[in-house]
């Protein structure tokens, strides 16, 4: 089991789920608001499942999710960006789901059966995310705001995947490869996100029940 890679997946899903859940109540249409919130919940659910795998049956997944310092998180810079604007949000969803599918396909072949099984489950649920992202991409593809957002986020999207998987992403998205914003360092946006995310949790002693 490649723990670092799995932690990267879990942290990506946690932070992106956190970002996506910010749209609850303020999405452009009510129907979309409801649908988008399900996607955010699914992502947090995926993060939880991977954290639980990593900590084992007697471990504390919440502690792993919330009680690290920001330097210890393994999320890709793409998910950290605060993008409370619809063209960027959809551009990120669309790019992320393609990259994530490539990552999950590799994980489904993992020699560890538990990892492979979990990757398959996540992939099956994300089929609906991909449908949703494609649907929006079809509608917005010619919209200048959307095209600009995709270009802006492209270096970050490349950084979601290790170098050896980027070729696949390039051919599926159809944009020439550029220098990636690599996983391993964090943007300025992660620290304020972590502060807010852990505010209530830190207000009580470690181990307090909620």
């Amino acid at each position: 089991m490649n723990e670092q890679a799995l932690l990267g997946l879990a942290d990506d899903e946690l932070v992106l789920g956190w970002r996506d859940s910010e749209w609850t109540g303020i999405a452009p249409m009510l129907e979309e608001d409801v649908a988008f919130s399900s996607i955010a919940q699914n992502e947090i659910g995926h993060a939880r499942a991977v954290y639980e795998l990593l900590v084992g049956p007697n471990g504390d997944a919440d502690a792993l999710a919330f009680d690290r310092v920001t330097e210890e998180y393994r999320c890709a810079p793409l998910v950290e960006l605060h993008l409370l604007e619809w063209a960027h949000t959809i551009a990120r969803r669309w790019l992320y789901e393609i990259a994530d599918q490539i990552r999950l396909t590799a994980l489904k072949d993992d020699s560890d059966a538990t990892v492979a099984g979990l990757a398959a489950k996540i992939d099956r649920e994300e089929a609906y995310h991909r449908m949703h992202a494609e649907m929006w991409h079809d509608r917005l593809r010619d919209e200048p705001r959307f095209k600009a957002a995709v270009e802006e986020l492209w270096p970050y999207a490349l950084g979601v995947l290790p170098a050896e998987l980027r070729g696949e992403l390039v051919s599926r998205v159809g944009i020439a490869e550029v220098e990636a914003v690599e996983r391993g360092t964090h943007t300025d946006e992660l620290a304020p996100l972590w502060e807010e995310m852990t505010e209530v949790r830190r207000s009580a002693p470690a181990g307090a029940q909620w």
Binding site: E31, V34, A35, S37, S38, Y128, M131, H132, M135
Partner: protein, 96 residues
């Protein structure tokens, strides 16, 4: 109505009939599906959905009711009195 309304019918479980569940405003069938899936299925409350543009539905609400049609309905038949008489004649009427 300026935006397309899609009526949503849901089947609660196998063997049940589709029932009208509500409606979503969506530009096409793909959006209607994505949105109806969540609005009418995120709690596992439906096993299937039918999505129909409201315009495709033909509304039927009136019937002629001029003549006595009771001969072809259950409420046109009252057999109690005659049944009682028949039983009395046959001596098969029970106590009370």
């Amino acid at each position: 109505m300026s935006h397309p309304v899609w009526e949503v019918f849901r089947k609660e479980k196998r063997g049940a009939a589709f029932e009208h569940a509500g409606s979503v405003v969506a530009p096409d069938a793909d959006f209607a599906e994505a949105w109806a899936r969540e609005q009418y299925g995120r709690r596992g409350e439906s096993v299937a959905l039918w999505l129909v543009p409201r315009d495709a539905i033909r509304d039927v609400e009136d019937w002629a009711d001029e003549f006595d049609l009771k001969y072809r309905r259950v409420d046109g038949y009252s057999i109690k009195a005659r049944l009682k008489e028949a039983r009395e004649r046959a001596g098969t009427a029970g106590p009370g």
